[in-house]
């Protein structure tokens, strides 16, 4: 069965997911800074057209008040709505962490299952676009370390659409991370609303010698590195986690069982990052089957710098992934 697709970028793909979900379910709301069309339909246009189509009751621009935004989303969710809140940039979650971590994440548990918070919190982030230290951080490890939250980071437009549909339908609060520098990249996106399940990884490229494990835009860099490794006769498998929490342990273990080697790649600083959790799990579960220590690539332990050369040095480049993969093969 072929699925009808259309070339879209992630902005258009997420917009389509929101529109199709809102069309099907009148309880879905959108709120955030500048999200209505009067304000431009979102700072990069992800919510463009939604307020015109669904009305300003359902698509509301807010003051620049992140605590009020997430609080409004939580309260509306408790009373039967499904709000999709936009926190413009991931760094801005720092001013509403109380609402996200103490409330959205915990109310189901603390109330013994009586009050639930089915919200999606969308945000963009990422280095490489000269935004400096307070507009670029990947902070996914904070949220993945918080019981009650789900954390999702699509690597391409089709996944952005399918994962957004699943996040909206999910009964728990989802953190949805969009990589700003990849917004313009297009891909084939299903025309229909086909959800992609949360918690399931995707094999982005099959291989047999080493497994590269990643998420968000770093998956693209892993694929570039895999093509390079292929020229050297090294067959790299690329696993796109899609969901960071809960992560697909089974899929990752299955791949690493096959290859015996793994390198985890993420944009966030390496120290205490998501890669450490995955590496620890691989060592715990596959100690005797590993042919080399698990590699981890991430940013150095610094804030995101502004100067172009420093910013590029901060980001994991495909060449570094190639080297890390080679190193796992050189061990034996």
């Amino acid at each position: 069965m072929t699925v009808e697709t259309k070339k879209l970028n992630a902005i258009q793909a997420i917009n389509q997911a929101l529109a199709q979900a809102m069309e099907a379910d009148p309880t879905i709301l959108v709120l955030g800074e500048d999200v209505a069309d009067r304000e431009g339909g979102g700072v990069v246009g992800v919510t463009k057209g939604l307020s015109t189509r669904f009305g300003e009751d359902r698509v509301k621009s807010t003051p620049i008040s992140e605590q009020a935004i997430i609080g409004a989303a939580i309260g509306a969710a408790i009373d039967g709505y499904k709000p999709v809140a936009e926190i413009m940039l991931m760094n801005f979650t720092t001013v509403c962490m109380d609402m996200i971590v103490n409330h959205a994440a915990k109310l189901r548990y603390m109330s013994g299952g009586q009050t639930t918070v089915p919200i999606v919190i969308r945000m963009m982030t990422g280095a490489g676009i000269a935004s400096g230290g307070q507009h670029s951080d990947f902070l996914e490890a904070w949220f993945a370390h918080t019981p009650g939250l789900k954390v999702v980071a699509p690597s391409n437009p089709a996944d952005a659409k399918g994962l957004m549909l699943s996040c909206i339908a999910d009964p728990d609060p989802c953190i949805f991370i969009e990589t700003s520098r990849a917004y313009g990249v297009t891909g084939d996106v299903p025309v229909d609303a086909i959800p992609i399940p949360l918690g399931k990884a995707r094999i982005a490229r099959e291989g047999s010698d080493v497994t590269l494990i990643s998420y968000a835009e770093m998956v693209t860099r892993c694929l570039t590195a895999a093509a390079e490794l292929d020229k050297e006769g090294i067959s790299a498998e690329v696993i796109d986690l899609r969901t960071i929490s809960p992560w697909d342990v089974e899929a990752v273990l299955a791949s690493v069982r096959k290859t015996g080697r793994a390198v985890i790649v993420h944009e966030a600083v390496r120290t205490f990052g998501v890669g450490a959790e995955i590496a620890a799990t691989l060592h715990e579960k596959l100690f005797r089957e590993l042919k080399a220590p698990v590699g981890r690539l991430g940013a150095p332990f610094t804030p995101v710098p502004f100067a172009g050369n420093l910013e590029q040095a901060f980001l994991v480049q495909p060449g570094a992934i190639v080297e890390a993969a080679r190193a796992t093969l050189a061990t034996h």
Binding site: K60, A68, G75, D79, M99, R108, S111, Q114, T116, D170
Partner: protein
């Protein structure tokens, strides 16, 4: 039977006789429950952080008689008075305070996180100021659904200095939400005097900055509190937007139970305790002919029996089964 407001005000709503007795009933419930809670903690029968609401019982009692069951409240760690006044059942409350499976939240929330949606008690937060942003969301849902539900956000004086207060009042005003912000000004934020931490002498003055009515009222006077709540709740229900009420009061037992009140003078405390609102209101109901001493004594005794029953129920209930540790983290049971 006639009753008069202590300071006659032709615009102020006056509770009828039955409502006055209802306010008294809720006050007596809160006061007796507090006494029982303090005793139970002091004797070691219960181990919990306890933020006594004694002294503040008029506020939620006079507010709640203006509310329907499906109206919502969001309160804070000093919140058992707000919960009881709104109708959270005693047995469920005590079992939650005791961490038992029969509690409002299966013992998983505790006294600082009581939730009982059937009574409209949606949130108890342990974070200063955080009742307000979520109350806005509940009010937004009511507005979107065309319901006439009203949401009350309770908080203390110190919470008016936290960002969430300002963000919430602004949003509620801009979105014209059916919410009432009720600040229970007990004159201290933890151990810090209100006037040493707050830029205004009356928190209600801050309402002007958010284009909503703001009123300071004697929160220990059931008539004044009733009238202020009545006006604000009707305004919200009629779609006219939010109100900020600053209800002046005093907490009898400090910040957290065991607090030695070293931050105030003995004279100051004695003067406040001498104005215990419960016996004052009781005497007034009798003097006004609203109820007899015998009637109120019977009502008090009935409440005492209910509290005793609730304590017995709680302490004889089972602890939550160990599977509850990992349940309710996500929708899927037992997700780890």
């Amino acid at each position: 039977m006639t009753t008069a407001s202590p300071e006659p005000n032709t615009n102020a709503a006056i509770p009828d006789a039955a409502t006055q007795v209802d306010i008294y009933r809720r006050m007596s419930l809160i006061s007796q429950n507090d006494e029982a809670a303090r005793k139970t903690v002091k004797s070691g029968r219960l181990m919990m952080p306890y933020y006594s609401p004694k002294g503040q019982e008029v506020i939620p009692s006079a507010v709640s008689v203006n509310l329907n069951d499906d109206d919502r409240i969001c309160t804070i760690y000093r919140g058992t008075h707000d919960m009881l006044a709104k109708g959270v059942p005693l047995r469920d409350l005590w079992a939650e305070m005791a961490g038992r499976v029969t509690g409002t939240c299966k013992g998983k929330g505790g006294p600082m996180h009581v939730t009982h949606p059937a009574s409209g008690a949606i949130l108890t937060t342990g974070i200063v100021g955080s009742s307000m942003p979520i109350a806005n969301g509940l009010a937004w849902a009511a507005k979107l659904s065309g319901s006439k539900r009203v949401t009350i956000a309770y908080f203390g004086d110190a919470a008016s200095n936290i960002g969430a207060f300002h963000e919430s009042l602004n949003l509620a005003s801009v979105w014209k939400l059916p919410v009432v912000f009720i600040c229970q000004n007990n004159l201290f934020g933890e151990h810090t005097r209100f006037e040493n931490a707050t830029s205004v002498d009356q928190i209600s003055k801050r309402a002007a900055g958010y284009s909503m009515p703001g009123v300071t009222v004697d929160g220990n006077d059931p008539f004044k509190m009733y009238a202020a709540a009545h006006a604000a709740i009707n305004r919200a229900r009629d779609g006219d937007g939010p109100t900020l009420i600053e209800a002046m009061t005093f907490r009898f037992y400090g910040h957290v139970f065991g607090d030695d009140d070293h931050y105030m003078t003995k004279e100051e405390k004695a003067a406040a305790l001498a104005k215990d609102p419960l016996p004052i209101f009781r005497a007034r109901l009798i003097a006004d002919g609203v109820a007899t001493d015998a009637q109120l004594t019977e009502l008090d005794a009935d409440i005492r029996a209910q509290i005793e029953d609730a304590i017995q129920f709680a302490l004889s209930s089972e602890m939550p089964p160990i599977e509850e540790l990992t349940r309710d983290v996500y929708a899927e049971a037992g997700a780890a």
